[in-house]
Amino acid sequence: MQFLGKKKKWWFIISGMIILPGILALIFWGLNYGIDFKGGTILEIKIKDKEYKIEEIQETLKPLGLPGLTLIPTADKTILIKTAPVEKEVTDKEKAALKEKYGEIEEIRFESVGPTVGKDLTRKAIQAVILACVGIVLYIAFAFRNVPKKYSSFKFGLSAIFALIHDILVVVGVFSLVGHFSGYEVDAYFITAILTVLGFSVHDTIVVFDRIRENLRRFPEASFEEVANASINQTLGRSISTSFTVILTLLALFLIGGDSIKPFVFTLLVGITTGTYSSVFTATPILVLWQKQK
């Protein structure tokens, strides 16, 4: 089956159509950052015996002047009370006020993160992504050093990184869209998921590139594009099988797993799907276009 040739532009158009809404969402809505990044407090409580209304709780807490106060009822009949970063004494008052009004309250979760912690996490996450990219380019350039002289091994590495950036754009964009509607937040788990997608995306791309490397040696007369197309065809069965098994596991986790890991698993699902797509339909066409140029 012909995947490259004139069809190349279609794959780029499809990618663009997926990425564009995400980018627009990013521009207009941004990302829904959790307290891991911004700092702040989350208090999750369950009010036991008394009837309550969200507005009423809002009224109870109003005199305390909590900055950035938001109340969110959850599916498990608990209430999330979020604020911007505040001193410990303030959160103590917050809890005391609730206890006074509602008597027995069950404190399910309390998290308080200072603003410096968030900045550090952001810095480290960006550092990790950049370092990982550099490491991967160098490794691929090294592993592919034996490709025929007229093809640059660095182009293999950099094409893989292009596919990677494509995947990160898709994931972050989709998350911005979904985050706007579902309240999924960017937290430390999100960073973990992005990094996993990064690993998996490159993993997938390398399998295709490895095949190209092998076929280049076997068929020195064929054009790069022909070799690349044959390699895609030969590895397609594997790509589908592997992604299918991973997506199967993730779907099981998403549908029946615990609520706390759902945003994490969702990010992985999106990322691994686009990772499989990009290894065939982004990384390889870019590599072909690039190797054609002298």
């Binding site: 410990k88 404190e107 399910i108 979760r109 309390f110 998290e111 308080s112 993160v113 200072g114 410096t116 912690v117 900045k119 996490l121 810095r123 480290k124 550092q127 990790a128 370092l131 990982a132 991967i136 490794y139 592993a143 430390a188 788990y189 973990t192 990094l195 996993t196 690993g199 998996f200 490159v202 993993h203 997938d204 390398i206 399998v207 490895d210 092998e214 030969q234 590895t235 594997r238 099988s241 592997t242 299918f244 098994t245 991973v246 199967l248 596991t249 993730l250 779907l251 099981a252 986790l253 549908l255 029946i256 797993g257 615990g258 609520d259 706390s260 890991i261 994490f264 698993v265 992985l268």
Partner: protein
């Protein structure tokens, strides 16, 4: 003979792993190697519930060369205080946020978080003051001169008090102070607050004193612990707190584990359905793989968190991928007309390059995460890295050995892809 060496080795590893994985396995102790493992799965805070605290120390008043020592000093003091609380498996570590020195404290299974926070945060700077020109001035006698502190009850009022005992130097200082200030007031100051200012009745030579104040029994007990464990060398500030309820953890974990098991069963069914006998062999290899990884979690030991479980499940995906790569390659070689034995060997040989390169790039990512990441991210990267390393062994060695078993025997005809 050589033919049987590898199968024997695999069998040995599998049984070893199974032995470690058994429920109710006895702790492992090898004195000669200084190895001591309780062979339990250590659960992280998000699974077991508890509190995660991060403190920032103010080291600005300490000279640069002594800061590292003071940082460790803070950890040691907090460690002593926590031990006195009787928390099992606490974690107290030095940390760094930007250029600020921090202390990470994890207390699993604790219920009264507020009490713990109060106790950790108390600087416990004890000072004895005397009056000079109508002003309180330091006498040089401090908490550093204490030998012991314990809670006693005042025989008259029944109120809790803290009885303190000075070391030799302290006793001498205390004797001088009481001599100087006979019939005058001396004050006991704790963290910048004067908590009592009794009038000296007699010269005290034996180096013992009682701190009275308005504390309840719990406060008195905490004060005694803090005085015994020593003062914090620098003031600390709580900058991050996460209470994880024990009721949220187990339910979420149970569901997620169930989902994980279901996912694995589905994958196994797919492999058997899609790749027939070799698929079944791959499933056996994957079972051995899971046994080994679990055993390593217990042996190293790795503290398992929700993120860690995710890393483990993902590594299963990568292990399955290695098998799929091999089988797809075998299929191609068989289509090309090679006999089964040659197709198997060729399939492994050619798939190996892809498996190696893809897994090494994942390992590079893992190493960077272990190096740079904080708690949660690191836990994920560690389990993923272990999983990838073991999967290289299981796909290449275990699956191949199982497949070779069929070659040249009557059962060869069962291998169909």
């Amino acid at each position: 003979m050589k033919r049987y060496l590898l199968p024997l080795f695999i069998l040995l590893v599998a049984f070893g792993a199974f032995w470690v994985d058994r429920p109710n396995v006895k702790p492992l102790e090898i004195e000669a190697l200084n190895i001591e493992r309780d062979l339990k799965i250590h659960q992280g805070l998000d699974l077991k519930g508890g509190v995660h605290l991060v403190y920032e120390g103010d080291f600005s008043k300490i000279e640069a060369k002594d800061q590292e020592k003071a940082h460790q000093g803070v950890v040691n003091v907090i460690d002593k205080r926590i031990n006195a609380l009787g928390v099992t498996e606490p974690v107290i570590q030095k940390g760094q946020i930007g250029d600020k020195k921090t202390i990470v404290v994890e207390l699993p299974g604790i219920t009264d978080t507020e009490a713990a926070i109060k106790m950790i945060g108390q600087t416990a700077q004890l000072k004895f003051l005397e009056q000079k020109d109508n002003k309180w001035t330091e006498t040089g006698l401090t908490g550093a001169h204490l030998k012991n502190a314990e809670v006693t009850m005042n025989p008259e009022t029944g109120d809790p008090e803290v009885a303190i005992e000075f070391n030799n130097e302290g006793a001498k200082l205390f004797k001088d102070i009481t001599q100087r200030n006979l019939q005058k007031q001396v004050a006991i100051q704790l963290d910048e607050n004067i908590i009592s200012a009794p009038t000296v009745q007699t010269v005290i030579e034996e180096g013992k004193a009682v701190i009275t104040g308005k504390f309840d029994i719990k406060e008195a007990k905490n004060l005694a612990i803090n005085l015994t464990s020593g003062a914090l060398p620098v003031p600390i500030k709580l900058i991050e707190q996460r209470n994880i309820s024990a009721t949220l953890g187990p339910e979420s974990v149970k569901k997620s584990l169930l989902a994980g098991v279901l996912g694995i069963i589905l994958v196994a069914l797919y492999m058997i359905f899609h790749y027939k006998t070799p698929g079944l062999l791959a499933v056996i290899a994957l079972a051995i793989y899971a046994l080994i990884v679990l055993a390593l979690f217990k042996l190293i030991p790795v503290t398992l968190t929700l993120a860690g479980i995710a890393g483990f499940i993902l590594s299963i995906g990568m292990a399955v991928d290695a098998n799929i790569l091999i089988f797809e390659r075998m299929k191609e070689e068989l289509k090309g007309g090679k006999p089964l034995g040659a197709a198997i060997e060729e399939g492994f040989k050619r798939a190996w390059l892809s498996i190696r390169d893809s897994n090494i790039s994942s390992l590079i990512t893992c190493l960077i995460l272990i190096w740079l990441g904080s708690g949660l991210v690191r836990g994920f990267a560690v389990t993923l890295a272990i999983g990838i390393l073991v999967s290289l062994f299981s796909a290449i060695t275990v699956t191949r050995t199982l497949l070779r078993f069929f070659i040249g025997k009557k059962i060869e005809k069962f291998i169909k892809i």
